[in-house]
């Protein structure tokens, strides 16, 4: 049904999407928390920076990644030299691009769910003797669980569909950086590639749909545990 190359693209997309989502999640939770509850100078600037990938043309984001994380990039060179982490023309670069593109969506969803928590619940926990980090872990985080799941699913779906920044940053190398969208693009550029493009499109739709259902189920589960107020 699928050719080996197609299987590779599907597997790569899943890997890139999962790693991008899991990698971005802790940072997104931290940034969302800061934006929701923090009071510090430069908050508007952070807010703007986070949303930048949402409003910039993806090609520009990809180019920025190339400059920053390419082999000779500002961070890329240092990361390669000290940690052996190389992004350019690797699947890791595709994951980075996908993570960056999905980040604003993730932060938005999580921030909204933090903001929806009555801060007096957190204050109640503090007066009961809980230090701030403990309050965060036992009250804020569980109460924001639905938003976190929703944000993660949104970012995962975005990662699966990410094309512009990825192809600009790490190109379209079969078996290395060719995710489902890139493979579909290649098919459309090849005579007789219509069937392949259609098959992969259906796969992309199926994965996105499955992720949505999964998140819906986990949210319902959280609701049954009393998360509903």
């Amino acid at each position: 049904m699928f050719s080996p190359e197609e299987w590779t693209a599907i597997g790569l997309s899943l890997k890139v999407g999962t790693i991008a989502t899991l990698g971005a999640l802790p940072l997104a939770v931290a940034v969302a928390w800061l934006l929701a509850r923090g009071r510090f100078p430069g908050k508007a600037l952070i807010d703007g920076l986070v949303h930048l990938p949402l409003v910039l043309p993806p090609v520009v984001t990809g180019y920025a990644l190339l400059i920053l994380f390419g082999r000779r990039g500002v961070f890329g060179a240092a990361l390669a030299e000290h940690f052996g982490i190389v992004f350019s023309f690797r699947w890791t670069g595709a994951a980075l691009a996908a993570g960056v593109m999905g980040f604003p969506l993730m932060v938005r969803a999580i921030r909204l769910s933090f903001e929806a928590i009555d801060d007096r619940i957190e204050q109640a926990a503090a007066t009961l003797g809980a230090p701030p980090l403990w309050v965060f872990a036992t009250v804020s985080l569980p109460l924001a669980a639905r938003g976190i799941v929703a944000g993660a699913v949104l970012a995962f779906a975005k990662a699966l569909g990410e094309f512009g920044a990825t192809i600009t940053f790490v190109s379209n190398i079969p078996g290395q950086t060719q995710t489902i969208p890139a493979a579909i693009y290649s098919y459309t550029q090849t005579p007789g590639g219509d069937l392949g493009a259609l098959k992969l499109s259906l796969v992309a739709a199926a994965i996105a749909f499955a992720a949505l259902i999964l998140s819906e189920l986990s949210v319902r589960r959280a609701g049954r545990d009393g998360g509903r107020r």
Partner: protein, 367 residues
């Protein structure tokens, strides 16, 4: 016990308050917007004052001059919000246990069994907050704060969001806390009856300032007609001994030097000293012989002062009752003129028992 002296300016609001509370219940009383909740939040550590000092026992919690600010989680001060603010994702039992984890074993003076029993929440332990009624939530919130064995318990209008029936249900619990756990309480309310029933010291706040501090009777007395805007809030506090219980009619008679007071509640025992809140708007004056009306409560007194507003329709009459307590009556100026009331005259004050809120009748709190 608790010593508070704080200043705070927020936008148009200025708070400048100093008071001290003893071991019992100290009530912060005043109209909404007078700064009661802000004081509670300052004591809890949820707000920082611009200037001031807050001392609890021998611990300095805030001293702006020396740069001391103890964060809320190290204050060991329990807080009960107006709306319980339970943790919605945790069962009642886990809610109750939350603060215990941070209480050193040596400080665990309050036992869970005692709290569960006093608050009557045994049957709720396995449930989630969303399934509790307002009164049940509030009881759990009180229990949660108590179980951290706090050095001070702050209660911010804990009954305000409840209906009358729930209030009647919870008030006795608060009384039992005061008497059985011996934890000092700072209690915010704008309900006169609650304050009289619970507090040994009343701090009346007005527009961010302390208007009066003292016992309930002095602090709540309507001293001038400047009060007229809030004539329904003007009360007298009388005290007497329970003389008789009448279970057939569901009333108790309280002996007062100036007469007897009938209250619509069966008190716990004959002989106990109680305080009764009487609203000035519920008092009528007459020159009748006793028993000529449906009113059972008749008190003899002498008019000490009549304060009337030149333009307004009202006059405030202060009576010195036999035995030394003062009773206030709001009348219309029309009635004062028609009866030719004057300072020094002897009159009879009539109070309808049904207008006495049984919530405001209670044993005198231990100071």
């Amino acid at each position: 016990m608790i010593d508070v002296r704080v200043e705070l300016a927020r936008n148009a609001f200025r708070l400048d308050v100093a008071f001290a509370g003893d071991g019992g219940v100290t009530a912060l009383f005043g109209p909404s917007g007078c700064g009661k909740t802000t004081v509670i939040r300052l004591v809890a550590g949820l707000e920082r004052p611009d200037r001031g000092r807050i001392v609890l026992g021998d611990r300095v919690l805030v001293d702006t001059e020396r740069g001391v600010f103890v964060p809320p989680h190290r204050r060991r001060i329990g807080l009960v919000f107006q709306d319980a603010q339970l943790f919605p994702h945790l069962r009642v039992a886990t809610n109750l246990a939350y603060g215990r984890f941070f209480t050193r074993p040596a400080d665990r003076a309050v036992s869970r069994d005692a709290v569960v029993q006093v608050l009557g929440i045994d049957h709720l332990l396995g449930r989630f907050p969303a399934t509790l009624s307002g009164g049940e939530k509030q009881r759990v919130a009180i229990g949660r704060a108590l179980l951290m064995s706090p050095d001070l318990l702050l209660m911010d209008e804990p009954l305000a969001s409840l209906d009358e029936e729930r209030k009647r249900e919870i008030l006795p619990f608060v009384e039992r806390l005061r008497d059985e756990f011996a934890i000092p309480i700072l209690y915010v309310s704008h309900a006169v009856e609650e304050v009289v029933r619970l507090a040994s010291t009343v701090v009346r706040l007005d527009a961010g300032h302390v208007a009066a501090i003292g016992g309930a009777a002095e602090v709540l007395a309507p001293t001038t007609l400047a009060h007229a805007g809030d004539r329904f809030g003007a009360v007298s506090v009388l005290s007497g001994k329970v003389a008789a219980l009448d279970p057939a009619h569901g009333v108790s008679t309280i002996a007062h030097a100036a007469g007897s007071i009938v209250v619509p509640r069966l008190m716990a025992s004959v002989g106990m000293t109680v305080r009764v809140v009487v609203h000035a708007t519920d008092v009528a004056l007459g020159r009748l012989p006793d028993g000529a009306t449906s009113v059972r409560t008749t008190l003899a007194g002498r008019i000490a002062a009549i304060t009337s507003d030149v333009d307004g329709p009202f006059a405030l009459v202060a009576l010195d009752l036999a035995g030394g307590e003062r009773l206030y009556a709001y009348l219309t100026r029309l009635a004062v003129d028609a009866m030719q009331l004057a300072v020094g005259q002897s009159v009879t004050a009539l109070v309808k028992a049904v207008s006495i809120d049984e919530r405001g009748v209670a044993g005198v709190p231990r100071a």
